[in-house]
């Protein structure tokens, strides 16, 4: 995008006003012998990303760790314009827009955000965000329990993020509902036969796409299994991966949730982040959070208001759905600005680059002696798990000293995903071939 402030006609008009023919005449007072006769020796224009890397290097800053850590948050590029818009005072201090007459900007952002989330997820309706992916997942389980009142369990794939499971368990604990965990097959995908046996009394089946081990699930088969048992399908999707994969909605999901951090939000040591929540239209009255809608003012002009507030506690009291969106408004704005900046093709480009880089890294890492795929045969997007020759936590610790964050050890969670000798590696569009060489080097010497 070009940010040239003056058009040629602007320049002509200014020159005419001060009575000269060309900008060069402005420098006529400088003796000709002192003037530069050739273009300045500066390099060609760089992309924003390359500029930041180059200037940081010239400034002698310590380069950040080369990040192969994922496991829920991912090291994607955040364009500078995202932060610039976030810091505008009109948005920075925005509280819940209860007064539409003074909140049209905030309400329109929410509306645009909801529209983008519907397009990404393939669902009918999205709310104005939740705390994070984990709380969005828990709210989806609560929605399913509200729709299927006589069913008291939630079947969750073993490969749903352990934090999502822990938070869902906490939320459900107060309602007397429980989680039944469905195992994975050796290729890392959900064991649908085992899940099917658990689904008889379940309100929903919860799966993650790609799952926590990076493996791509067959969502259509998951939907068929859930619906055959009379349960809803809840999909926790990755909002970047979905640009390259079928959307949850097109595969038959009833509720789609996501951790929105990959959309223009820095990793920030784990937060604040953004929960995405979308559903089919028929569940709209069971949805938590705020929803902005289009309306008309008394002169017939298009405007935006909060809608369906009869779900919320100031009207529905103790029977209200959850209502926790206020402090995520700024992060929803970040995701909106990010998506508006990169556009549909840009997001596809990010997804494809991450996928290609990850497969190159997989090929290189699994050739190292002692490293092997944890889920052989499983298709993956931008993240994969490998068996390691020694405890992964030790490898990660050792690699940090060499400037590389080599991944996430899979035994560090409340529900350990595997034995200590397993490492989860994520590769985004930011990782270069040189970065992958450095990863291979630290893993080889570990």
């Amino acid at each position: 995008m070009s940010y040239v402030p003056h058009s040629q006609s602007d320049v002509r008009e200014m020159l005419k006003t001060i009575g000269i023919a060309s900008p060069d005449e402005l420098f006529a007072a400088i003796p000709a012998a002192l003037r530069l006769k050739k273009p300045l020796a500066i390099p060609d224009a760089l992309s924003e990303w390359d500029t930041v890397r180059t200037v940081s290097a010239i400034a002698g800053e310590d380069p950040p760790l080369v990040c192969f850590a994922g496991g829920g948050l991912y090291d994607h590029w955040v364009p500078a314009i995202v932060d610039h818009v976030l810091r505008r005072s009109e948005f920075y201090t925005a509280y819940t827009p209860y007064q539409p007459e003074v909140s049209q900007g905030t309400l329109q952002v929410i509306y645009e955000f909801q529209t983008m989330m519907c397009e990404l997820s393939g669902m009918d309706v999205a709310n104005a965000s939740m705390y994070d992916g984990a709380s969005a997942c828990a709210e989806a389980a609560i929605l399913a329990g509200g729709v299927k009142k006589d069913r008291h369990t939630v079947v969750m794939a073993h490969t749903v993020h352990p934090h999502f499971r822990a938070v869902t368990q906490t939320y459900l604990g107060a309602t007397g509902r429980t989680i039944a965990v469905a195992p994975r097959r050796s290729d890392g995908t959900l064991d649908l036969a085992a899940a099917g046996k658990l689904l008889g009394q379940a309100s929903c089946l919860v799966v993650q796409q790609p799952n926590f081990l990076g493996v791509i699930e067959d969502l259509e088969a998951c939907a068929a299994a859930a619906h055959a048992a009379g349960a809803l399908l809840v999909v926790a999707f990755n909002p970047v991966a979905v640009a390259a994969l079928k959307s949850p909605g097109s595969c038959g999901a009833d509720v789609a949730v996501a951790e929105g951090q990959p959309l223009g939000i820095p990793m920030s040591f784990g937060g604040p982040v953004l929960g995405i929540f979308a559903a089919k239209n028929e569940y709209i009255r069971h949805m938590p959070g705020r929803i902005a809608g289009v309306a008309q003012d008394h002169e017939g002009r298009r405007g935006f208001v909060l809608t369906l507030q009869t779900r919320e506690q100031h009207i529905r009291r103790e029977k209200a759905t959850s209502n926790i969106c206020t402090n995520q408004g700024l992060l929803a704005l970040a995701a909106t600005v990010y998506l508006a900046t990169v556009g549909v093709e840009g997001l596809k480009g990010v997804a494809e680059a991450a996928c290609v880089n990850a497969h190159a890294a997989f090929d290189a890492v699994t050739k190292i002696k002692g490293y092997a795929p944890l889920c052989p045969g499983g298709e993956f997007f931008h993240e994969f798990a490998v068996k390691t020759p020694k405890p992964a936590a030790e490898i990660v610790h050792g690699a940090v000293a060499k400037g590389v964050l080599a991944g996430v050890a899979l035994d560090r969670f409340a529900f350990p995903m595997d034995d200590p000798n397993t490492l989860l590696i994520a590769v985004t569009e930011k990782r270069t071939a040189d970065d992958v060489d450095r990863l291979v080097e630290v893993l080889t010497k570990a």
Binding site: R285, T310, I315, R316, K319
Partner: protein, 129 residues
Amino acid sequence: MSKIPEDNVYTEEHEYLHETDQKGVVTIGITDYAQGELGDVVYVELPAVGAKFDKMEPFGTIEAVKAVSELFCPVAGEVVEVNIAIEGDPSVVNKDPYGAGWMIKLKVRKPAEMEELLGPAEYASHIGQ
């Protein structure tokens, strides 16, 4: 003046019960007074056929633009028919509460409970008419 048909019985929660041709089966809906107080009805959530309720247990919800109310089952029984049409067009609850705006048909479990409900005159006095 709200309409209060003579051939119904009523509850203090502004529901009516109308005996159908089928023995022991009553039609249940909200009264003309109730729809007027609620304003434009935008959504009605109804139970499934076969659902069983105790006396005064909520059987559904009714949502107007600025309020949501529970629908209470006036007597114990089992739902034998549901007016699905009002889920698609809730405005009939406003237009014709005693006719097309009915909500459920209920097989009454304890006929004696019918005796405890209000007659038309008692309901009229309840709403100050």
